[in-house]
Symmetry: C2
Subunit: 214 residues, 2 copies
């Protein structure tokens, strides 16, 4: 029985999981969640994710929530197939992967997600106008984070070292949407960040997922 | 050579690491960082943590940043001594630990940390007055998160199951400070959350660390 991902193809957190499955060559079924009628807040979905957010995973009898826990589970269970995303056999390399996974979670994501929300979600889903003050405040934060990334990527090809890892992969969905906004310049103006973005976003697993994000 | 933790004993992120070291029975040296003179923004420290934040770890030739990556490293390296914090030998249990680690990072921490900042940091370090609007907004968020925790903890003794794990441990530092504010009632009013808090905060490893947090 194929593993089931409950989510939608335009969701950043869902696509984080789908890209990981693609890198590992794991078959799956994407089960759509109808968020417009609040399906994610109903008991059937809450039993899969108590916070009522997409995605959720079902793998046989295991159910799991939080996209970053799901990718870690997939990368661990299928350690020996596809791309080696966690470097579990090397304590030093895996420690570096984990540090940059946390950098994405605690520095990059809090800075980039409100920009994408204002630029892409507010106008498209709520027919509203982006709040430029929120964007400005988060551009300032993202600039600081990207200065650190630029320095790191001038020394190693990817965030955790000279190998593509889950830490790079986790950056893909939000950056994909950022690149469709005027704030794409934050990436484009930094040569090493730009080269890194062009590299990781052109990997076949993500290119396939990105088709569904348009 | 003992492992070195660069940080301070009152910092939530530093104590997260120190508690983990205590649970694993790993010896360490705490190297104080003088933040009042900006030592954490100087090149010597930036080489350890590019974001210029405490803590950082030195273990022989390895340097590492981000408290949650450091605890994962310690729990992995010393897997077979002290408390089994990650359940690495059981795919299903480790997946549950990871889901609740992400819950702490993406639900609990963003809700609780601004409350603790307003109630404890602003008056003590900046001689300022807490912003009650910020507190109110985050109390609302924390209430929702704690409702999910209360439900989960009515079914299992700890977050990931009937075993204490790194997911529980990561909640200790911020909750310790919350319990010294009027918002302690958010914990005390929920019987299962309260029992869980009393249990995890009375573990010897944390009690020792908490002495330095006062």
């Amino acid at each position: 029985m194929a593993l089931k991902v409950y989510g939608i193809s335009k969701s950043t957190c869902t696509t984080r999981v789908l890209t990981c499955l693609g890198e590992k060559g794991v078959e799956f079924e994407l089960v759509p969640v109808n968020m417009s009628v609040g399906e994610h807040k109903q008991p059937a979905f809450i039993s899969k994710n108590p916070f009522g957010q997409i995605p959720a995973l079902e793998d046989g009898e295991l159910t799991l929530f939080e996209s970053r826990a799901i990718t870690r589970y997939i990368a661990t269970k299928h350690k020996d197939q596809g791309t080696d995303l966690l470097k579990l056999d090397d304590l030093k390399e895996s420690a570096a992967v984990n540090a940059w996974l946390e950098a994405e979670a605690h520095h990059y994501n809090p800075a980039i997600s409100p920009i994408v929300y204002q630029r892409m979600v507010i106008p498209v889903f709520y027919n509203g106008t982006p709040d430029e003050k929120i964007i400005e405040a988060h551009v300032e934060k993202l600039n600081k984070v990207l200065d650190v990334y630029e320095e790191k990527l001038s020394k190693t090809k990817y965030l955790a070292g000279d190998f593509f890892s889950l830490a790079d992969l986790h950056h893909l969905p939000y950056t994909f949407y950022l690149m469709q906004t005027p704030e794409a310049k934050l990436i484009e103006s930094r040569p090493h960040v730009k080269a890194w973005w062009e590299d990781i976003s052109s990997r076949p697993a993500f290119k396939k997922v990105a088709e569904g994000m348009k």
